[in-house]
Amino acid sequence: MIYLLTQFVLALFATLAFSVIFRVPVKKIPACMVVGALGWITYIIAVHYMSSPIAGCFAGACTVGLLSAICARVFKEASTVFIIPGILCLVPGYKIYSTMFELLREDVMGTAQTGLETLLMAGAIAVGLLVMGIVIGLVRILVKKAQAIATRQ
C-alpha cells in the first residue's frame, strides 16, 4: 500500500513537471496530474496481476483515454491536452534508449527483444487510446438516441 502511494505521488510529480514543460493551461494542470497518476497506478496493478508490461500499457492507456475524455467534456477542452501528459509515465521512452544502447553494444538478440517490446508497448498505448475513443463515441451516440426517443414519447 505504501509502495502504491509513493508511486502515485511520484507519478503526480512527473506528470506535473511535464505538464509545465508542454505548457498545459494552468487551470487544467491538476486534472492532468490526476489523469497521469491514475494511468500509472493502473499500469502497476495490471503488471502485477498479468505480469506483462504490454498488457499493463494497454490497461493504463485505457484509463488515461477514459479520464481524458471525461476531463475534455468537463473542461470543454481538446482531449489531447490531457492525453499527452497523461501517457507520459507509460510511454516506453527508456526502452527506446536501451534498444539503441544494445544496438551500439552489438547485442543483436537483445536489440531485437527490447525493440520488439518497445514497439508493442507503444502500440498497446495507441490501441488503448483508440479503443477508448471508439467506446466513448459509441456511448455518446447511444445517449443521443436515448434522449431522442425520450423526447418523442
Binding site: T6, Q7, L10, A11, F13, A14, L16, A17, F18, V20, I21, F22, R23, V24, P25, W40, E77, A78, T80, V81, I84, P85, I87, L88, C89, V91, P92, G93, Y94, I96, Y97, T99, M100, F101, L103, L104, R105, T118, L119, A122, G123, I125, A126, V127, L129, L130
Partner: protein
C-alpha cells in the same frame, strides 16, 4: 465570392493549421480544423493534406469562373505546446459558430502565435522534478532522486541553451545525454549507495521520444501513413543520438576511469 476573399480565407485556415502542427497536434485535428474554418466561410470544396513537415490546402468554389487556390506551407520546427492547441481549438469553435470576420480571426491567430512558454526557470525546476521522480519510478532510492534532480536541471538547461544556439537536434541530444551519463558516473563513484543506471534513466526521460513513438503509431492507426513514418524516423534518430551520447561516455569511463580514480 471574390478571389481576394478566398485568398484571405485560405491564409487564415493555413495559419490555424500551422500553429497547431507546430504545437504538436494530431494530423486529423489539423485537417479537421482547416476544413471546418473553410466550410464556415462558405467554400464548397476543401481538400487538406497535412504532414508533420508541411500542409497542403486546395480551395475551390465549384463555379466555372472561380479559380482554384492552392497553398503549400512548409513547417520546420515543432515543439509541444498544448496551450496553443487548446486555444486554436477554441478559436475554430467560436469562428464557426459566431459571425467573426476573417480579419478578426487573423488577429486572434496572430495573438495566439506570439504566446511564449512558461519562464525558463520554472521549466528547469520542473524538468529536475521530472528527472528525480522518474529515477525513483524506475526503481531508484532517495539518493538517486536527489542526484537525478540536480543533474536533470543541468541537462535541461544545457538542452535549452543548445537549442537557443540553433544546434541540430541530433547533436543536442547527444551532448545532453553524454553530460547526464558523465555526471551520473561521477556521482555514483563518489557516493556509495547511488546507482548510475537509475540516474541516467531519470535524466534521459526528459529527452526520450516516448510520446513521438506513441503518436506515430496513433497516426498509423488513423491511416496517416506518411506522418506515421516521419514521426517514427524522428523518434528513432533521437533515440540513437541519446544512446550514442551515453555510450561514448560509458565506454571512455570503462577505459580511463580505472586509471584516474
Amino acid at each position: 465570392m471574390g478571389k481576394k476573399r478566398q485568398k484571405l480565407i485560405l491564409l487564415l485556415a493555413v495559419k490555424a493549421g500551422e500553429i497547431m502542427m507546430k504545437a504538436g497536434a494530431e494530423i486529423y485535428r489539423v485537417e479537421d480544423t482547416i476544413t471546418r474554418i473553410c466550410k464556415a466561410c462558405g467554400i464548397e470544396s476543401v481538400d487538406v493534406f497535412a504532414m508533420p513537415t508541411g500542409i497542403f490546402v486546395t480551395l475551390d468554389n465549384g463555379d466555372e469562373e472561380d479559380s482554384t487556390h492552392t497553398y503549400v506551407r512548409r513547417i520546420n520546427s515543432s515543439e509541444t505546446d498544448l496551450n496553443k492547441i487548446s486555444r486554436v481549438n477554441d478559436f475554430s469553435r467560436t469562428f464557426t459558430t459566431t459571425d467573426m470576420t476573417v480579419e478578426e480571426g487573423m488577429e486572434v491567430l496572430d495573438e495566439i502565435e506570439k504566446e511564449r512558454k512558461y519562464p525558463v526557470g520554472v521549466r528547469v525546476a520542473c524538468a529536475s522534478l521530472a528527472a528525480g521522480s522518474f529515477s525513483v519510478l524506475f526503481g531508484g532510492n532517495a539518493i538517486d532522486f536527489c542526484l537525478a534532480f540536480i543533474i536533470g536541471a543541468f541537462c535541461y538547461a544545457m538542452s535549452r541553451a543548445l537549442s537557443h544556439l540553433d544546434i541540430n537536434f541530433f547533436i543536442r541530444g547527444l551532448c545532453c545525454c553524454a553530460a547526464a551519463a558523465f555526471f551520473a558516473l561521477i556521482a555514483a563513484a563518489s557516493i556509495g549507495s547511488a546507482d548510475y543506471d537509475m540516474i541516467i534513466a531519470g535524466c534521459i526521460m526528459l529527452f526520450v521520444p516516448g510520446v513521438a513513438i506513441t503518436n506515430s503509431i496513433r497516426d498509423f492507426l488513423s491511416g496517416d501513413m506518411v506522418s506515421g513514418l516521419g514521426r517514427m524516423a524522428e523518434a528513432f534518430l533521437t533515440a540513437v543520438s541519446l544512446a550514442v551520447g551515453a555510450g561514448i561516455v560509458l565506454k571512455f569511463w570503462d577505459v580511463f576511469g580505472g586509471i584516474v580514480l
